[in-house]
Structures are given as C-alpha cells and as structure tokens.
Amino acid sequence: MRRKREVTYTYTPDSKTKISKNLNENIEIIKTILKDCDDVVFREFEVGGDDKIRMFLFYVDGMADKLLLDEFVLMPLMISSREVPPSFDEIKSKLFEVTKDNAMAVTDFKEVDIIEDLIMEVLSGDTGLLIDYTEKALLIATKAFPTRSVAEPSAETVIRGPRDGFTETIRINTALIRRRVRDPRFKIKQTRLGVRSKTDIAIMYIDDIVDKRVLDELNRRLDKINIDAIIDSGYLQQLIEERAFSIFPQVQTTERPDVVAAAIYEGRIGILVDNSPFALIIPVTMNAFFQSGEDYYSRPVISSFVRFIRLLAGGLSILSPALYIAITSFHPQIIPAKLALSIAATREGVPFPAFIEAILMEITFELLREAGVRLPRPIGSTIGIVGGLVIGQAAVSAGIVSPIMVIVVAITAISSFSITNYELATALRLLRFIFMIAASIYGLYGIVLAYIGTLIYTVNIKSFGTPFLAPMAPFYFEDMQDAEFKLPLRYMKRRPMHFDPNDLIRQGDEDGSQ
C-alpha cells in the first residue's frame, strides 16, 4: 500500500495545482475544493483483470449525460477490459494513452493537467476522469442539461421570415448561426466572463469583413470587465456600452438568429451569452432600430413604405401629446378655426390645464402597459377591459379629460407599439414626457428646443466608433440604399459603409467576379 500523505490545501480563484502522480492526493484535493457541493458525484473504481489500475471519475449530477457515462465510459473500462485484459505491467508506461485511445467510445476528449481547470469544466457539465500514476486527467464532453427547445421568439414576431429564435443554451444558439453562415472565415470565439459565474460568451464575426478596430475595442472592453456574475446578456450590454446613463441603447439586442446572421454579413459583431436568449449586435445605429428582418424578405417598395410608417410612428409617439399641449395652450391659430373651436368646446368642462390632462392620461396609459406586461396571461384580458374603461368614455364623461385627449393617447399608444425595437420604444416613451414638459413651458418653441436638445444628444452618441445617427449624420450617400428607403436587393451591391467593413462588395458583377 502506498503511503497516505496529509494534504494541506486551500482554494483561491487563482490557484493552479498540478495533477500529481498520486491519485489519492488528487482525490483529496478535489474533494476539499468541492466540499459540501452535494450535487457532485464522485466515483472511484478499479480497472483491468488484476484490478491494479485505479481510476476516479466525477461529474455534476443533472448536467452530465449519465447514460453516456454508463454505457460508453464505465462499461468498456470496467467490464470489457476484464475480458481481454492487458496486464498491468504491459501498459504501465502508457496507461493514459491506452485509456484514451483504446478504451472508451466517446467523441470529445480534452486533456487537462491543472486540477482547478478540470473542476471548472466539470462544473460546466463535463466529466473528469483521473487515472492512477498519471499526471494528466481526461475531460469527457458529457454536457446534457435540461434545455428549452427552439421556438418562435415572442418579442419579435414576423409574418414573412424564419420562425426560429434563440434559446438559453449557447451551443444551440451558435448552431443556429452557423447554419446560416457556413464560411470557414466565420469565427466563433468563446471566452468565459464573470469571476464566479464563468459564463460562456461567444463573439461571432466574419474574419475578412469585420472592422478589426471594432473587434479590438470590444476585446479591450471585455478585458476590463471584472464582475462576479453575468446573469443575462443585459449585464454584458451595460458593461460594454459607452454611455451608462444614456436612454438610447448602444447595443442592439435580438432574439432572431437571422437578424444576427445578417448583421454578421454586414461586418458587424454578434455576441451570445449563455443562459440568455438575447444576442447582442455591435455596432448599432438608430437606422438599424427602425428596421426589421422582414423588410429584407418582402418586396422593397412595400418595405420602404413600412419603414416610412415606422418613422412616422416614432415621430408621433414622441410628438403627439406635446403638440396637443402646445396647440391648445399656446397656438390655437395653427389649426383651422373650426377645429380650434370644437376642441375648445370639448375642453370647456375639463378642470385641468392641457398639460395636466395629458400627463394624467399618459401616465395612466403607462401604468396599464406595465400592468399588462406583468400580469399572468389568464387575467391579462381583465386589464384590457379596465383600461378600455379608464382611457375611454368613462374618463371623458367624468369630465376629467377631453375626447381629443383620448384620441391623442390612442395615437401615442398605437405608434409606440409599431416601433420594432422594444428598447428604442421605451427610450421614445421617456422622450415623450420631456417633450410634453418642454411644450407646456414654451409651446412650439419648447418642442423645437427639445428637438434640438435630442439631436445634440444623439449626434454625440457613438456605438463602438459608429455615430448613432449614421448614415444620416455623418451622411453616407451610398448607404441611403438601405435607410429610410430600401432599394431592391439586386441593386444593393455593397455592404453599408458606415460600419466600415473590410470587404465592401456584397454582390459581385454578373460575370461572376467578386
């Protein structure tokens, strides 16, 4: 019997312990580190006809594929090896190689020689196998944990276009992208972030299209992150954004793999975070927020029209209550006299100034909207009925608001729901209140001041070096092919210039040259 040595070991995140030749010592260290982790399964067993070889296997219950371990790892090692037993002395020198190459029927192995690294991988679902007399350990890919299947994304629905959406598992998500980009130059770089959570992050780009400066900038920002855990891609988004307090998102989020793939083909970078069905895309512009994947699949004239409608919706959702306030309380001469009179007549019984009236209604609308999102589905319809009563006839007949105000709130609501990007829609929601306040102080002049202020604010935003208002400001004539209007696909021969891709040509000429 080998002499048992006393192991003194304390775990720190940076410690690197080499695997020693003494299996008992290794087991002791692993069990010290994983003390009180009751979901980890340890299995010590003996192999070979003469039972001289001891092995040690450990995995996290529920994250590793038990069936695979039983049938393709333990079965050949423990049972088959007894039938044709190589004698211990014969293979002593190359024990590890024999086990790895001849004994097990598993596709994916990794060799590890640091105990902490091994444990790290085991905690992400793989299985560690230690062999006596060997300074290396085998890592068997056994990841199999409960996952949600690929389903249609609930936030970004389309009528024309693919119906698959990201899931919470990074492997499935990368596969969804890889299916759309079968180019060896398409890279999926994986790293781990979060000191404790060790969340998998995948950075995806096409090597010869992507702007290397953006990639470097992204890596620099990722390197700076020193946080305990990345729970969702929202964490990462906030950590890599330029402006923490900005109301406009500087990173695009999407649940749709086709959107990510299209962005990657434009020379942008997609980022996937494990446990999050939302992929991040950088850089992003205001223009991209007004686009939907569907625009590219349907007829160009119609998608141009739809984009115009969306822009109009954006404008209306910010402006309509502010205009109502400005016109009724400052400039009734702007609208036709008859309309001005009829508005004044309906407002006669209303005890509040236009600003209070508008704020009341808009806040009620925001409350309803928030309640509608949080409510469980079965009672969700109740809110609709209650809301219809509050923002509707009841409020008017109670004399709190004028009927015109109800119309204004309705227009605001419809417009803000027609904006494709949820995060932009919420930003515009906030802007709406700023415009309302400005209009209540200065009327139309206030609206213009607020507009100038918003423009100053947005022209200064950059998303990874790309100005937020590109291709409008700075102006790129070539990129107007895919901005407010969309040219037919056959005329969109170049990638958008404002993302500065390395390779501009998207479509070659007819003779086949690219």
Binding site: I452, F464, A473, P474
Partner: protein, 363 residues
Amino acid sequence: MVPNDDKISTFQLGLIIYLTPIGVGIFTLPAVLAKDVETNGWISLILGGLFCMLIIYFISDVGKKYSNLGLVETLKFLFGKVLGTILAFPVFIYYIVFTAMEIRIFGETTKMYLLFKTPLEYIMIPILILAMILTRNGIESIARFFEAAFFLIAFTLFLVILIYLPKSDYSNLLPILRVEPLKLIKSVSDSLFSLSGFEVLFLLFPFIRRPEKALRSSLIAISFITILYVVVFIQCIARFGVDYTSTLLYPTLSLIKSSDIPGAFIEGIEGLLFSLWIVLIFTTIVMLIFAYSIVGSNLIKQKEIKHTVILFLPMIYVISLIPDSIAETFEFTDKLVIFLGYYTIIALPILMFIASKIKGARG
C-alpha cells in the same frame, strides 16, 4: 468605425458653409433689396454671390497653404506677432457682437410670432445654453448636428417652394434694370452681407480632412444659398409687389403667412415653418459661437475651446440686451457691418491673399 480625429469631411464643410449664412437675414432681405434696387434685387443677389465666391477663392487659397495654422496663427505668420494679433482682434469683436445681435433678433422674432407673452430673456437663454452645449462638444458633433438638421430643413424648403410657386403674379418682377448702376453696386454689399457667415471657412481649415477640396464644396454651398435667396426674393416681389415688400419688416414670413393651403389640416402654417426656422438659426448661432471661441482661444492662448465658449457667453448675453427695440437692434447691426463686417469679410481675406503671395514669392 469613424476616425476620432476631430476633423470634418468635405460634405460636412459644404453643409456648414450652406447653413451658417441662412439665419435672420432670409426674413429681412427681400425688404432691404426692394427698398434699394426695387425689382433688380435678384441681380444684386447674383452679383453678391459671385463676389462672395471670389472672396472664398482668396480664403481657400490662403487657407490651403497654411491649413494647419488657423486664422490667428496665419495672421501672426504673415504679418508678425504683434501686427497679426492686432489684425485678428477686430474679427473676435465682430463675432462676439454678431452672435449677440443674431440672438437678440432671434428672440424678438420668436416673441413676435410664437410666444407673445414670454419675456425676451426666457426665450434667449435656453437657445444659448443649447448652443453652448453643442459647441463644447467640438466640430465633429457640430458637423453631425448640421447634417441631421439639414434633411428636415431641405425637405420643408422644397415643400414650401412647391406650395407657393403657382400663386404669384410674376409680372410684378418687371421692369428690370431701371435703376442707377451705382445704386445696384451699393446694394451688392447688402447681398454680400446676407451671405456673411461663409467666412467661418477660414477658421475651419485646421479641421478639414482634405483642405484641397474645400474650395469646391464652399462654392457649391454659396451658389445654393444664392439660388435660395433669389427664389425667396422673386416670390416676395411676385406676391406683394415692390412697394408693399419694402414696407414689411419680415417679408418672407409674411409670404408664408399670406396664403393658406386649400384643404389642409393646418391653417397657420407659418407657426410650423417658424419652428423649423428656429433650427436654421440655431445652426447659425452655433457656428458663430464656435467661430468666436476659436479666435478667442487663439488670442488668449487657451488651448481648450470648451472653456472659451463659456468664458464669453455672459458677455454675449449682456451685449444682446443692450439695444432697446428691434429697430435699434437692426441699426446696431448695420453699424457693425460698416466697421467690422467690411473688415472681416472683404478687407482681411484680400489682405491675407496679397500677403501670402508676397511671402510665397519671397520664400
């Protein structure tokens, strides 16, 4: 990724040269010209535009040679340290007073057409603060703001011209050339000063990415402004006739006010157009503030333009409140034009052009 070098592209330069001169001038110009040269205002405008192009040629010729120096440094280089500083000082005063007057006229006009009861100070302060914020962000942000604002403005201008074209009596434009040549030449200076603001080109040279292309884009910008002014003038005369136009304070606004679009939802369209005009004048104010802060920071040797903007802003506010009425403001502006304007816009570029030629011949 756009290079973060605080430089502007050729298109952005053209846009700055286009949007800076269009300010309060566009409202008063038809009345001034109708008073002086009656129906021949458009000839005066075209001559003014051509003269302006000549000056732009001078400026860009000098600017290209010393593209990394800027106005004050170029003056110091050409005329020596002391004389150069003395020559640059009136330019600084010109911009300070010009900014102040622009803001005052803006405030008065806004009060007259949009906010009848709001005190003047409350109208002027927010736009000054916004202009200060934008200017402090540097030329790159300013250029991007101009681009973002431009599309809205261009679209509206196009719409307005379309609306007003069919409703006018163009025989009002006759007879032409029945005015003394001397009077016509005198009025060219009015036309030239309606373009004032183009001379910021001189200050922008250190910020231009490709200085060799500056001349072309500035010339295009000036010709577009000239066309716009000519169209506005012709429309005013065609609608009101010479006599009535010359009595109006803001003939352009009256023009917009005078007709309503049949069947439109909006009746008093001038309120909405006026709001857009605020964006236009904002671009002018921003560029003027930028101009004085560059000249100022060169004069007091302050490297950060950001600080110079704030340093002189209270002064501008106080100067803008000196005139008692809008008439007095216009009088004040005219005096400014005679002394500082002629110097900055005409004398200085020619002087520098000659000096640079002599220097070039010697070296």
